[in-house]
């Protein structure tokens, strides 16, 4: 299954609403997890685990450091989904 950027963005928005109560309209590519969405480091781990399950991808800790914004995560997951 190939993931599209649109699918990943909307899926990520649902995950963020579930684990952290972030309203869907705030989940835009430019939004930074920590500064704009107030997702702390523990909650970010929950987001990662939920995304791995939802999208069938693996997000290693090394990659996590570079996932600062929603756009970073969408790009990573979409690319990982292609190679998965």
């Amino acid at each position: 299954m190939t993931l599209t950027q649109v699918d990943v963005l909307s899926g990520l928005a649902e995950v963020l609403e579930e684990v952290s109560g972030v309203p869907a309209d705030k989940v835009v590519r430019e939004a930074a997890f920590e500064n704009d969405l107030e997702v702390d480091s523990l909650t970010m781990v929950e987001v990662v685990v939920a995304c791995e399950e939802r999208f069938g991808v693996r997000i290693p800790d090394e990659a996590l450091e570079n996932l600062r914004t929603v756009g970073d995560a969408v790009d990573f997951i979409t690319a990982a989904g292609v190679s998965a």
């Binding site: 684990v19 952290s20 109560g21 523990l42 909650t43 781990v45 929950e46 685990v49 791995e52």
Partner: protein
């Protein structure tokens, strides 16, 4: 501010979330009308348990979903009770550096550790919650309350099994007398209604198995008692120096006059049948409060409804109070045994009894055990004329804690 080192402190706020209802008013009404919060747990996974009575709390809708999802149930209970107590105290304007929190728990985040053990086994380590550790740690309830109230003078957690809640209140008294703080939010919380702890208590033969009559199962001092009923809940008091309470014009429910702590060094779980340690805690508490036995009009007893414990405690009363026989009640006859929250919930009940001048009866006390030589309040509530009341709590490990409240 100077250290008082002795003397009473003011009780200005009360909070309780118990099997009798959502707040202190429900606890008070439930005790005075001798209502039972005990029920039979039915279906999976309870049916396999040899003892499956419990007294549970309705937490539905008490916290926002997002706030609740990273807090263990024991933290949620503590937070709800602490907010009630804080509001009751009028949300005291106190410098954060002069506000401390002491919330005890017997077991801590048992439901989280057990639930996440299942996750680990079924889905592997990467599925384990990153919130596991702050949810399971015994200081989790105190930490959650400290964070919510912005307390910066220290957050503490006495862990002494079923004496934890009372020990937290004793520690609050020390802190206030030390002069280091002006206000302390103190109490206890417990939430471990789960098949594993229940199986463990059942294997000790500590639990009642009166499954055909759940509401009659918790019966302190009664000849037919056959063990305690596990309960969950939280009790919290706002305590402050008399000076601080007066300066802000706070309503003072009662005062904590003294505390006494001792330890049995007898057996890890069995009470010393002579009640020596328990008696010493009472004597020390009275001395700390500058009172004698004759001043005490009422005892809110630990009285769990176990065959051995109730009698040992009755002997302790005789040792410490001599021929003086205050009116005794047993909150657990209605609430079940809230373990680390019990001492705090019973402290709340004791304060209310003193404030309102009325002592609730012991439920289910149909036929008093000849060896339980206490003046138990039966069937109907009794007036309280005296100005002092005791609350006693004892825990596995041989912990003995007595608190003296005064008008």
């Amino acid at each position: 501010m100077t250290a008082a080192l002795a003397g009473p402190v003011a009780v200005t706020g009360l909070g309780a979330l118990t099997p009798l209802g959502p707040d202190v008013a429900a606890l008070t009404e439930g005790l005075l009308s001798s209502r039972s919060g005990v029920r039979l747990l039915e279906g999976e996974p309870w049916d396999a348990l040899p003892a499956r009575l419990a007294a549970t709390v309705d937490l539905e809708g008490r916290l926002e979903r997002l706030e609740a999802r990273t807090l263990d149930r024991v933290q949620q209970l503590a937070l709800v009770a602490a907010r009630e107590a804080w509001d009751d105290a009028g949300q005291p304007a106190v410098a954060p550096e002069r506000l401390a929190v002491v919330i005890g728990s017997g077991i801590g985040g048992a439901l989280t550790i057990l639930g996440q053990a299942d996750v680990l086994r079924e889905k592997g380590p990467r599925a384990v919650s990153p919130h596991l550790v702050p949810m399971l740690m015994p200081n989790g309830p105190a930490a959650a309350v400290g964070l919510a109230l912005g307390a910066r003078a220290g957050v503490h957690t006495p862990v002494s099994a079923c004496a934890s809640g009372a020990e937290a209140i004793a520690m609050a008294l020390d802190l206030l007398r030390s002069g280091r703080v002006d206000v302390v939010v103190a109490g206890g919380s417990e939430a471990c209604v789960h098949p594993l702890p229940m199986a463990g208590f059942a294997q000790m033969r500590a639990l009642s198995t009166r499954h055909d009559e759940p509401e009659a199962a918790s019966r302190p001092y009664d000849k037919g008692r056959d063990g305690f009923v596990l309960g969950e809940g939280a009790g919290v008091l706002v305590l402050e120096t008399e000076e601080h309470a007066r300066a802000r014009g706070a309503t003072i429910h009662a005062r904590l006059g003294g505390a006494g702590l001792a330890s049995d060094a007898y057996h890890v779980t069995a009470p010393d049948p002579a009640g020596t340690g328990a008696a010493r805690s009472i004597t020390l508490a009275l001395r700390d409060a500058g009172l004698t036995a004759a001043d005490v009009g009422h005892v809110n007893a630990h009285a769990t409804s176990t065959p051995l414990g109730d009698i040992a405690e009755a002997r302790a009363f005789a040792l410490a109070l001599g021929a003086h026989r205050p009116a005794v009640t047993a909150t657990k006859s209605c609430t079940g045994h809230l373990l680390g929250a019990a001492g705090a919930v019973e402290a709340v009940a004791t304060v209310v009894a003193l404030r309102d001048g009325i002592i609730p009866p012991v439920r289910n006390l149909d036929d008093i055990d000849d060896e339980a030589d206490v003046d138990a309040v039966r069937v109907v509530a009794r007036q309280l004329q005296h100005d002092a009341a005791l609350s006693t709590s004892f825990g596995f490990g041989g912990h003995d804690v007595s608190l003296v409240f005064v008008r």
